[in-house]
Symmetry: C2
Subunit: 672 residues, 2 copies
């Protein structure tokens, strides 16, 4: 028997693999360094302070300040032309905000959800909310398009959580204080998340989930506006579609047709101007001005006909003046701090997700980048300072951002312009809005919600990815038929489970050689080739007696170790049956796509190695990456497999296997 | 200017890639087929019914029956020799079980945790528990080594949950009924999980978590045994180390030194025999018999000296006879069903995880395979039938399995032997155990727990994988310092978060060409090469103007889309700086290791493509897999990138880029 001698084997190995698999530096890498590198890459993917070390202290401080305060970054090159655009955009979104700040969506929903009997009570906080936060955002925000303001979803959420503790109708003062306190906690949470660089948390709210959630919320808010459209004075505290419709049809005696007629007219006008804007983007100011026009016309109309006596409820007395300080109003007593914290944290997470998603969507249209962590800090400061100045929770608002974008804003300065306009109105013009019919506000809110049910995007999801569609539909239906928290919870849970399922079931596939070089033949020495999934490329060539398996798509870890063991065993069995005549002698595991392995994963590989050895097969490993090689060495598995059975490429591994196979066919034994 | 003509480009493409990237069949695959394939691979990784279609009905039925009832599988080839081994092993584990069934760990802990004042009450269910379930397992179980019986952890859990509703000292009958009912729900849950093929759930309890949990639980149970060792008659219901030690040192007046002396003697004897077994595995019967010996000696000793009058509490009257039916005792009233369900489900999950883990560990030592789903069904039936016959929750018990394995069992028949031995003892010998000193049982339990704190495995985890060690330590400390549920919850939460982190932060790396063929030079036409991480292989050759980036380790999805966008942008920026002189013109994305992509992932690729185009760079994609190619086509991204810019291998992509690069340097424009 002409056995392959160790020397021959060595030479063959060397011939086929001049560059050995690199295990050494990995093994030497200390835990601290590896953990630091992993942590840095996890939390600072953008690595903001590269190359700071070499700078003089003053420049370094300036660079750090510029990083943390984006206004310093853009103000350096700020020109009169830019200001002109920002001024225009700012006035436009202020137009949108003034009626909204008189009664923003949140107030309408707050009122309805708190089911107050009178619409004339004092001290509803939201009427101030648009003034201070935009100023903060103008300085701290990293997005150039975002228009900030209160949003309906988080307002409703705060209202429902705080309302569970104190009803606004029972103790208006305490209720307001709790709302401010929850804004404070929102600010603390958001700023802390940003400073801890946990922008990563927001990543787990997927866009399909947000789409479904926004669509469902828009439907719920539109349902709430039926109160205004029907001129009803009472309303249910529930938000799900079944309860709301049941309440409405059980209370037909409250309906007042005058409100309905006026509301439908307003709505048709608003939808028409929106259509005009869509067809002719240059006429954006028509649709941007129309909410203010509706409010003005509504005011004049209801003042002239004394609408509140003829079935058209009006807003009532508005408090005039600038936001008072509310620092002394924050309630940190143990009795209330729990509910304020809960309201603040839950709606804060939600507001963050919504604001960041809105910012991202528009930034993507301009090919700009938004830093999730900076946005978090900006939102946090916005709400912290807001809670000190009688403001409600604010975030990036979709409709405002859309208008800001279409109006051609250049920087966050447009938010400052909006803020100044708001302040002027609050100081000088507040009494004018007294006669605003509630139905006018309902029409404005409804028209702005219509665009948020993105049926086209939902249909597209259905076409491209059924699982994403399921997430989106679950969120939408959850919000509509239950509560907003249910919808969001279900959507996030499905998303997370889906991500976990990817981890639990990584992909294994049998690879074959696909030639794509200019050389001829499928021999070992052809020009260029790739090892691809034989299921995808049925023409891929496999070598008899050698099975190349690829494991990819997930780290090899506790969640999939058992699955992989079974799946690899099944591949081997299938292959044994397929090559019934000849023996299967080599199993090459391509783990180049495996980025990490934990100890159950290592145990799995050890078991696979043992099982194959028992069957008289040899296991080879292709291209272990740094983190994996490290563990292979530490656990002793590298030694068990043998370093000469670790290869850089599948081609190399197959060539080596084939070489020893030929040796053994001619009477030699495969070197083990 | 000698521009590259379309024809030339086509030829070049063809020359370099005879096999085009396969996008078509993927696009044609209907959703139903794809979903079915994914579901089948997720739930039936072992694909048990392959090739059934071609068989005659009778054989097919036989094969299915053999699949579901493993006993049919092994009984066909069962021989007298095998039975001899099983008999020996069965008698051995019965020896271990008889004292344990008189007062198994669960009873001791049940008693202590229920804090009963008298040790003489009737009707404690556990004394029956070892009789029926092993018979069921002998028929249904897929493991050949597993010894079944009640385990301390799930018993303690049931005791603490049911004890929260009804104290055993208040209403012994109701308490017992609730314990049976919880066993019923455990059975239902386990069988349902098995039938639904959700063995996947157990995968998320990682081995490090189970190691920590078992170690912590062993410590807690040993602490509970201090009651026996100190001869105390009352004990605290808490299980955490602080509460237990505080109770013990606040009640020094209860201590009785006689029990301590006797207990320490027994413990030394048991530990000594265990050491004998370890040094000389052939003497396993010494350690296997020693528990029974301790019980017998203890009985005789306390009978002779009337121990219960001299500070040595005894077991007291044992009910004689076989298990009565308990079907009529199950409580399904709304008042109790909740607590029974909770106890049953929580401890059922735990028992399942423990039993499957134990089965796997020993199967791995014999290179056998265990089917998680079959085990679930077997455990479920075991507990269902057990709940009808006055049995407590049972599962695979570690100590019993270890003894069974060392005693040389061949099949699950050893469980049947154990069961018969138990029945004989229950019918004929029960009164003999009346005088058993409680401290003897405490010593037996303590000695069996000593081996469960696997300090060597924990130290090994620390060396190989710090994150796994953290999971293990969290579970252990959680159990010891809080409750078992806390410990398990913390461990599972850390494991899941870690898995999610892998999804949120996939690996990106810059690849370079490492030659490992026998050809010479690093030219495009060399023999064999691999593209490897340049951080791992510093010698890897990169082509100027071309950046090859690999994305691997996770599906590209909502959780990492934004991260990948930022990370890829940073790689491109770094590369631009690094090749300051020359232009970076091509970015090759190697997504061969990406197994799935969702719609936010697609959007990310679209944004990256747009961003690169804005910079005047061209994006190429290497080796998209079937599922990914499908989405690329459906979403229109394949068209955007251009099919001629999708390659099978990195080598091919680089060669094509280099070719067009040369063309453009000589005055041509890169084809877009």
């Amino acid at each position: 028997m002409a056995a392959v001698t160790p020397d021959e084997h060595e030479r063959q190995q060397d011939g086929h693999c001049r560059a050995r698999v690199n295990l050494r530096p990995a093994a030497a890498r200390p835990f601290g360094a590896a953990a630091r590198a992993a942590l840095k890459d996890t939390l600072f993917p953008d690595d903001p302070f590269r190359g700071l070390g070499g700078m003089p202290p003053a420049r370094r401080a300036w660079r750090v300040a510029r990083y943390f305060v984006p206004a310093l970054d853009w103000s350096a090159g700020y020109s009169a032309a830019s200001f002109w655009y920002d001024l225009l955009a700012g006035v436009t979104i202020a137009n949108l905000s003034i009626p909204a700040s008189a009664t923003p969506p949140s107030q309408a929903s707050l009122r309805s959800s708190a089911s107050v009997s009178s619409d004339h009570e004092e001290g509803i906080p939201q009427r101030y909310s648009c003034f201070v936060p935009p100023l903060v955002y103008a300085v701290m925000g990293s997005s150039r398009n975002l228009g900030v303001g209160p949003v309906a979803t988080s307002s409703l959420l705060v209202a429902s959580i705080v309302g569970g503790k104190v009803r606004a109708s029972d103790d208006q003062r305490l209720y307001t204080q709790l709302v401010f306190t929850s804004a404070f906690f929102t600010g603390v949470l958001q700023a802390a998340l940003g400073l801890l660089r946990l922008g990563i948390l927001v990543d787990f709210m997927s866009r399909p989930a947000i789409t479904g959630f926004m669509g469902g919320t828009a439907i719920v808010i539109m349902l709430q506006q039926l109160k205004g459209f029907l001129g009803m004075t009472h309303f249910t505290t529930k938000t799900d579609i079944v309860s709301v419709l049941r309440y409405i049809f059980h209370n037909t005696h409250q309906w007042q047709w005058q409100s309905t007629v006026l509301g439908v007219c307003f709505l048709i006008f608003l939808v028409f101007t929106e259509q005009v804007r869509r067809r002719r983007p240059k006429l954006f100011w028509v649709s941007a001005m129309s909410p203010l026009l509706v409010v003005v016309v509504g005011c004049v109309f209801s003042f002239l006909i004394k609408g509140h006596k003829h079935g058209i409820p009006i807003v009532g007395t508005l408090k005039r003046g600038i936001n008072p300080s509310s620092i002394s109003q924050l309630k940190f007593q143990p009795e209330y701090v729990g509910v304020a914290m809960k309201a603040g944290f839950v709606s804060g997470m939600l507001a963050l997700a919504e604001g960041v998603a809105v910012g991202r969507s528009f930034a993507a249209m301009k090919n700009e980048r938004i830093d999730g962590n900076k946005e978090m800090v900006a939102f946090g400061l916005m709400n912290l300072i807001g809670s000190f100045t009688s403001c409600y929770i604010t975030t990036g608002a979709f409709s405002k951002t859309a208008v800001n974008y279409h109006a051609g804003c250049r920087t966050a300065m447009s938010n400052a312009v909006m803020s100044v306009c708001m302040a002027l109105v609050l100081v000088a013009l507040a009494p004018l809005f007294r006669h605003t019919p509630l139905v006018a506000l309902a029409a404005i809110i409804t028209s702005s919600m219509l665009g948020l049910v993105k049926h086209r995007e939902i249909r597209r999801l259905y076409e491209v990815d059924k699982a994403d569609f399921a997430v989106c539909a679950a969120a939408l239906l959850g919000v509509v038929f239950s509560t907003m928290i249910t919808g969001l919870g279900v959507a996030v849970a499905i998303s997370v489970l889906r991500a976990l399922l990817h981890v639990a079931r990584p992909s294994t596939s049998k690879l074959g050689r696909v030639s794509c070089g200019s050389g001829a033949g499928a021999g070992a020495a052809d020009d260029d080739h790739a090892f691809c999934d034989v299921a995808q490329y049925p023409g891929a060539a496999t070598a008899p007696g050698i099975l190349v398996l690829q494991v990819a798509g997930s780290p090899v870890c506790f969640a999939n170790a058992e699955y992989l063991r079974e799946r690899i065993a099944r591949w081997v069995e299938d292959e044994e049956k397929a090559v019934a005549g000849e023996d299967l002698l080599y199993v090459v595991l391509d783990i180049g796509g495996v980025t990490a392995i934990d100890s159950p994963g290592i145990e799995m590989l050890r078991e696979v190695h043992g099982e194959l050895e028992r069957k008289g097969m040899k296991m080879a490993v292709t291209n272990p990456r740094m983190a994996v090689a490290e563990k292979l060495v530490l656990s002793g598995l590298a030694e068990l497999v043998g370093e000469s059975w670790m290869f850089l490429s599948n081609g190399d591994a197959v060539a080596a296997c084939r070489y020893t196979l030929q040796g053994s066919k001619h009477g030699g034994v495969p070197p083990v």
